[in-house]
Amino acid sequence: MAEEITIPGWKKWLEDVGEQVSFFSRFIKNIFVGGFEWSEFVRQCYEIGYRSMMLVGITSFIMGVVLILQLRPTLVEFGAASMLPKTLSVSFVREIGPVIIAIICAGKIASSIGAELGSMKVTEQLDAMEVSGANPLQYLVVTRILATTLMVPLLSVIGDVIGLFGGFLALNLRDHISLPLYATKVIASLDYTDFVPAFIKTIFFGLAIGFVGCYKGFHSSKGTESVGLAANSAVVTASLWIFVIDAIAVQITSLLFYK
C-alpha cells in the first residue's frame, strides 16, 4: 500500500480559494452562455425574497423600536431628544439596517441554499443533472445567486422602512410626534451619501450570500452529515463575508464622501 499523502492546511486553503475563484468564473460565464432560466429565477426570487419578508420585517421593526428606546435616555440627557429621528435614520439606513438584514438573510437564505444543494449532491441529483447533459450551474447556481443579489437589496430597503416605522412607534411611547413630521425629519436627515453606498453594499451582500450558499452546497461531500455541515458553513462564511464587505464599503464610502 502506498503511503497516504497529507496535504498541509495552507495548501488545502489555497486549493479552496482556487476552487472558489473557478466556481465564480463559471457562474459569470453561465450567466451569458445558453438560455437563462427565467422561470427558476422568478421562483427563487419568490422563495428568497417574499418568503424572507416576514422575518426581515419583524427583525427590522424590533431593531427600530430597540434603537429608539436605547438612544432616547442619552439624547434626552443632552437635551437632544429632537435629534432622535435623525440619529435613528442615519444609523439605520447607513449601517444597522443593511448589516442586520444581511446577517438575517445569511442565516435564512445561505443555509437553505447550502442545505438544498448539499442534499441534491448527496442524493445524486446534481450528478443526474450533469450526466443528462443539462447544466446544473445554469439552472441551480446562476438563478440562486442572481436572485439573492436582487432580493437582498430590496429586502434591505423594505427593512429600512419598517425599522424606521418601528422607531416612530417607539418614539410615540414617551413623546408625541406625528407621522408626517417624523417622516419629514427622517427624509431631511438623509441624503444620497447615506442611501446609495448602503444600497450598493447590500448588492454585494446578496451576491456573497448566494455565492457562498451555492458553493458550499455544490462542494459538500457525499454523506448526510455533509448537508448539515454545508448549511452551517454557508451561514458562518456568508456572515464573515458580510462583515468583510461592510468594512471595505465603509472605507471606500469614507474616502469618497466623508472627507
Binding site: E4, M120, E124, A134
Partner: protein, 263 residues
Amino acid sequence: MAEKEIVAEPTEKKTHDKHEVVIEIKNLKKSFGSKDVLTDINLTVHRGENVVVLGRSGQGKSVTIQCIVGMLMPDAGTLKVFGEEVAELNDKELKELRMKIGFLFQSGALYDSMTVRENLEFPLTRVLKLTDRSEIDQRVEEVLDSVGLSDAADKMPSDLSGGMRKRAGLARTLIIKPEIMLYDEPTTGLDPITSREISELILDMQKKYKTTSIIITHDMECARITADRVVIMNDGEYIDEGTFDGLKKSKNKIVQSFFKDVS
C-alpha cells in the same frame, strides 16, 4: 452526423449493425488516493447487448460506468464510446455524448423539488431544447405509460414508493431516447417482487427502445433476467465473462461464490 439523427429519431437504430462496438475499454485504471479501484478493466460492448457486471460492493463497478459517462476521468487506459476517447472530449463533445447515454442512479436521483412530470420535462426542455408543448406532453405520456406510471405524473418524488421512484428515474433517462443505458444497481433496496418487476422492465425497455445496456448489480435474479452476457469483477479487474447459464458452470471459485445460491 449520423449519430445526431439517431438521437433525434431512435427508430432509425434498427438499421445499425448489431456487431458494432459501442463501448470499448482497454486496460482501464483508476485510483482514489492510495486506493487502486480499477486495476485493469477490459470490456467490449456491442450494439443492442445487455451486459451485466457482477461484483461485490466496493469493487469499483460503479466507477467503471462513471468513467464511461465522463463523471470520472480514468488514470490510464483507453475508454472509447462510439469510437471516441472519452478523456479527450471537450465540454461540448462530452455534452453531446451524454445526450446519447442514459444513466439510472441507484436512488433514482429524481429532482425532489419537481413533480414526476416536471422531472421528465426537464431533459426535454434543457437538453433537447424542445419547445413544442404538444410534443413534450406526448413524449411524457408515452414514456410514463411505458414504465406504468401514468397515474403518478403529478406526484412529488417524496410521495412515490422505492419501486415507483426507480420507474420514474428510468422514465426520465429514457425520455431523451438514449442509445446506451447505464444502470447503477437498479434493484438495490427493493423487495424481491419489485426487484423482479424492475428487472423485467429493464428488459422490456431495452427491447422497446433498442438500447445497449450495462447493468451494475449484485442481484443474481436481476442478472439472470436481464443479461445477454455477464462479466464478473473482482479486485478491480474482470475475471470471467459469459452467459448467465455458462458462468454457473464455471470452475473459478470467485465466480462460483456468486452462483452458489442460484438454482
